[in-house]
Each structure stands twice: as structure tokens, then as C-alpha cells.
């Protein structure tokens, strides 16, 4: 133990803590500053932008919530995010399992096709997708961001689930096969419960991604009443450029749900992002 500690000693300890804490301040301060600004009277903000609030003033937050319609945007974000996450998780689990556990015609090509999606940006499909959604009669409905959102989540989802299932011992499924269970039953009863850690990782990761998306809804959801939070914030900022307190309130309302989810599930989230790297 002592040996390990000494072998790892590469830095002067005081300097190390100074740098580590400085980095934490740099990461955190801009966000905290926005929240503090949201809780101050707007006139005070311009006079001394970086002072602590002299008194807590909730008026910017309530104004943003009602005038800025952040309540509506919040509901829209939930309506879009939940089905997208469910779709990605269900399809990725099935496909990841299929690819890792069976050898069948078309396996390689299907997997490769899906993986190539990891490098294709949304810009490369946004134009035809617009007309495709229009022809399908989906443009301007929530489905116009949910269905493509699911498709865009699949490359990472399938990759993650495939690598997870590949590492599970094969003997477990064999027991089910001897019992004569169907493959779907084996998947559902035996394999899927084992995949819980990977599934929760994928849920959190996909939640963040969908929650923060703005280009897709900007292009496909033109109705103001259907905007999700990031898009709402974008238009809100355009409309109230001068009122910093109010914009900060918009930022505070937009960030709080996602930060809460992050803090609850941060372990899974980080695991998901490092899954590909640390294999």
C-alpha cells in the first residue's frame, strides 16, 4: 500500500491540490454565476454583475416560467424524451444481444452498417429526412423528432449492449436451452436481468442526449407550443437579450432537471461514456 502510494507520487502535493481545485472552480463557476444571477433583482445585476445576491428575488424565475412558457417546454421535453429513450433501449438490447450471441446470415453487414452511424453527423441526413417526414405526414408532430431520435441513438446503444452481452458467460443461456425455452424467453428471463448495469447506463446517456437536442426540433417541430426546453431557451434568449436576470432564470430552469438526473445517475453515465474506451 505504502509502496503504491510512493510510486504514484509525481507531483508536489500543494501545487496539485491548487490546480485540481482551480479546475473545479473553472468548471463550476459559470453555472453557479447564472443561478445566482437568476435569483437577483434585474437592476442589481447590471450594477455589479458578480456580487452575491443581496436578497433572494424569485420574480425572474416566476416570470420566466409563465411569460417564457418554460412550463410548456418542460412538458414537451418529457413527451419527447421518454419514448425516445424507451425505443433506443428496447431496440438496442434486442440487437446487441442478437449480434453478440448468434451467428447468422447478414450479421456482420447489419452490425457494420449500424456502427458507421457513429461518425455520420445529423447534418448529413437532415435535408432528405425533412421531406421524408413531410411525406409520411409526421412533420410538425412529436413523432418527427422521436422516430429519428431513436434511429440516431442506435449506433451507440447497439455498440454498448453488444459489447456487454459479449462479455457475459455463455453457459447461462445453455441451461435455458436444455429446458427447451424459446430464445426470446431466454433473453427476457435470463440474459436481460444480467444486463441491468449496461441498460441503466444507456438510459441515462440517451436521456441526456435527447433532453439537450435542439437542431432536430428546430427543423422538424415548427409549432411554438411543441418546443422542448433547449429550443425554448434559444428563442427566449433572442426575445429578451437585454434582461440578463430573466435569461439567467431561463438557464436555471433549463439546467436544473438535467443536473439532478446527472447527480443521481452520474456513476452510470460516466461508465457509459468510458465503456468503449476501457475495454
Amino acid at each position: 500500500m505504502a509502496r503504491t502510494a510512493s510510486s504514484r507520487r509525481l507531483f508536489n502535493s500543494t501545487g496539485k491540490y491548487f490546480i485540481l481545485i482551480l479546475m473545479a472552480v473553472i468548471a463550476l463557476y459559470p453555472i453557479l454565476q447564472m443561478w445566482m444571477t437568476a435569483l437577483r433583482p434585474s437592476n442589481e445585476v447590471l450594477r455589479s454583475p458578480f456580487a452575491l445576491p443581496s436578497e433572494l428575488d424569485w420574480s425572474n424565475l416566476t416570470k420566466a416560467w409563465t411569460q417564457g412558457r418554460f412550463g410548456t417546454y418542460l412538458v414537451n421535453s418529457v413527451i419527447i424524451t421518454i419514448p425516445t429513450v424507451i425505443g433506443v433501449v428496447v431496440l438496442s438490447c434486442l440487437a446487441g444481444y442478437g449480434i453478440s450471441r448468434f451467428k447468422f446470415w447478414g450479421r456482420g453487414i447489419m452490425f457494420l452498417t449500424i456502427l458507421l452511424g457513429l461518425t455520420v453527423p445529423f447534418q448529413s441526413v437532415m435535408i432528405p429526412l425533412y421531406y421524408q417526414l413531410l411525406n409520411m405526414g409526421l412533420l410538425g408532430t412529436y413523432w418527427s423528432v422521436i422516430l429519428p431520435g431513436i434511429a440516431f441513438g442506435l449506433p451507440f446503444g447497439v455498440f454498448l449492449m453488444q459489447s456487454f452481452f459479449e462479455d457475459l458467460p455463455h453457459e447461462l443461456a445453455e441451461a435455458g436451452r436444455i429446458d427447451g425455452s424459446s430464445e426470446l424467453r431466454i433473453f427476457w428471463d435470463i440474459m436481460l436481468p444480467l444486463a441491468k448495469p449496461a441498460v441503466s447506463t444507456l438510459i441515462v446517456f440517451q436521456f441526456m442526449k435527447t433532453w439537450n437536442e435542439f437542431l432536430m426540433p428546430l427543423l422538424y417541430l415548427q409549432d411554438e407550443d411543441m418546443r422542448p426546453i433547449p429550443l425554448g431557451l434559444m428563442f427566449f434568449q433572442g426575445a429578451y437579450t437585454r434582461d440578463i436576470g430573466l435569461i439567467a432564470a431561463g438557464v436555471a430552469i433549463s439546467t436544473i432537471p438535467v443536473i439532478i438526473v446527472y447527480l443521481i445517475f452520474q456513476r452510470q453515465f460516466v461508465k457509459g461514456l468510458t465503456a468503449g474506451a476501457v475495454k
Binding site: 509502496r3 479546475m23 453527423p121 441526413v125 436451452r177
Partner: protein, 295 residues
């Protein structure tokens, strides 16, 4: 034996049905529109009526398009600086964490926080930091007597690209730290120890013992930042829209303008195909580089 293998292959075929739903979904809303983009890239189309096939005309135009080259140049600056800076800083910080610290978990949670915010939120926060009159940056500069440096960072052609890039680095530095830290967990302390006993300096231990052991993770982060650098859109679009005077234009924002402001869907498609090709080749090159490093 023969019967068993036939039963086996029947069983193997079940896998097809597990993959099919995802594959169909992916084809319908991703692969098929992408192929349509490839077709559109060889047409002229303003969004009304049907596209006119023009063969490689758009690709010839692309090669001669100065605006495209300057945008691509910005992407290349972005890829180089936007990869080198966060990986350099990220390596130092993650090794510091790895050497053992109190509160390491809390620190990692904080470092990663900006990564979970929407690009719109990040854009709003940083627009405010860069505000020429009352922004955090200029107020700070004035307070330390550097008032003449207090410029409109996002409004000047010389600084806009770098100001946006700094914002992006602020956002994903935490990702680099966390992933590199995860990679460091596999480093063999015995080897580091042996090097120390042999009289290797901290820098030599870092460079010759630690870095080679985390090479796979390092490559992974490089591939990620390189792809991200060629595809970057959100933060640029939210903060400067490619301006002022196209000085912070990247391929993705240029594509958006060509397609949706000028209604040149054919040429817009050509640009977006090139984007995918560039990102894919860069990712491939980085993977090859990794293989070469391992051999």
C-alpha cells in the same frame, strides 16, 4: 453431430430476428435518408419540384469553393487545437487524480458537469462571459489593469473562432479527464515503482511508463475529439452562427447556411456528404495509428 449442427444453425438464425427491428428502424430514419443525401449531392434542387440530376457538378463546385476551404481550414484548426489542448490538460489532471487525492470522486463529478448541459445553455452562459461591456472576462481584465485587452471576443474576426473553441474545450475537458482516469486504473503500479527505483524522474515515469500503458484509451479520446472537431456545429451555431464575416465558419454551419438560408439543397447535401467522408477517414486514420502504435 450433423443433426446437432443443423439444430445449432437453426438456433443461430434466431439472432436475425433480434437484430431486425433495430436494423429496419435504423435504415428507415438514418441509412435511407443518408443515401438520399448522397443522391441529392449530385443534383440541383431548391426544395420545390423534383431535383435535377447534374452528376458531379456540385463536387467540382465544392473543390473551387473558397468559402468551403476556409470553413474546412477552421475545422482543421479546431481538430488540432481542440484535440491537443484538452488531452494535454486532461492527462495532467487525470494523472494528478490517479496519484491519489481526497475528494477525487467529487472533483470528477464537477469536472464532468458542463458535458451534460445543452449546447444552447452553454452558448447562453458563454455569450454572457464574453459580453464586451459587463461580461466576466472583460470585467476581470479591467480589474487587473488589462482594460485595453477587453474586446468583444465573439465580435472580432481574429478571436471569434478561438473564443468559441475555448467554450467547447471547457465543455468536454471533463470528458477527457474522466475517460483518461478510467484508463489509468489499468496502469500497473509495479512498473511505475520499478522505474522510480531505477532513478526515472517523474516526467520520465509519466512519459515512458504511464502513457504507453493507456495508449488504447488515449486513442479512443483522440478519435472522439477528431470526429467531434470535424462535425462541430451546435456551439458555433449558437454563439456566432459562423460570423463575424464567416471568420468562425465551419463545414457544418456552412452546410446549414447553404441549405436552409440559400435553399441550395443539392449543394448543401454535397457539403454534408464530404463532412461524413472527412470524419470517417479521420476516425479510420486514428484507428490505424493506434494499430501501428501497438505493433
Amino acid at each position: 453431430m450433423a443433426q446437432q449442427s443443423r439444430r445449432g444453425s437453426k438456433r443461430q438464425r434466431a439472432g436475425f430476428w433480434f437484430v431486425l427491428p433495430a436494423f429496419l428502424f435504423y435504415v428507415a430514419f438514418f441509412a435511407y435518408p443518408f443515401l438520399s443525401t448522397v443522391y441529392l449531392s449530385m443534383t440541383e434542387w431548391n426544395g420545390v419540384g423534383s431535383p435535377t440530376f447534374t452528376g458531379l457538378t456540385n463536387y467540382i463546385r465544392l473543390v473551387q469553393d473558397g468559402a468551403m476551404w476556409s470553413a474546412l481550414g477552421n475545422n482543421i484548426i479546431w481538430v488540432i487545437l481542440g484535440t491537443a489542448a484538452p488531452i494535454f490538460i486532461g492527462l495532467i489532471i487525470s494523472v494528478m487524480l490517479w496519484t491519489g487525492t481526497k475528494g477525487g470522486g467529487v472533483l470528477r463529478t464537477i469536472y464532468f458537469l458542463p458535458m451534460v448541459l445543452s449546447p444552447v445553455v452553454i452558448g447562453v452562459i458563454w455569450n454572457w462571459i464574453y459580453n464586451p461591456l459587463f461580461g466576466l472576462l472583460n470585467t476581470g481584465l479591467r480589474n487587473v489593469g488589462l482594460g485595453k485587452w477587453a474586446i468583444g471576443w465573439l465580435g472580432e474576426t481574429e478571436t471569434a473562432l478561438y473564443a468559441v473553441m475555448l467554450t467547447a474545450i471547457w465543455t468536454y475537458l471533463g470528458f477527457c479527464i474522466v475517460v483518461l482516469y478510467a484508463g489509468l486504473q489499468k496502469v500497473d503500479s509495479e512498473l511505475v515503482d520499478a522505474a522510480r527505483i531505477d532513478g526515472a524522474s517523474p516526467w520520465q515515469r509519466f512519459k515512458n511508463v504511464i502513457v504507453p500503458q493507456i495508449r488504447p484509451v488515449l486513442t479512443m479520446v483522440i478519435v472522439y475529439t477528431v470526429i467531434g472537431g470535424f462535425n462541430v456545429f451546435d456551439v458555433v451555431w449558437v454563439m456566432t452562427g459562423g460570423g463575424p464575416n464567416n471568420s468562425s465558419e465551419v463545414i457544418a454551419t456552412y452546410t446549414y447556411e447553404v441549405a436552409f438560408r440559400n435553399s441550395e439543397y443539392g449543394y448543401g447535401a454535397t457539403l454534408s456528404v464530404i463532412m461524413s467522408v472527412v470524419a470517417l477517414s479521420a476516425a479510420y486514420a486514428a484507428m490505424r495509428f493506434r494499430k501501428a502504435g501497438e505493433a
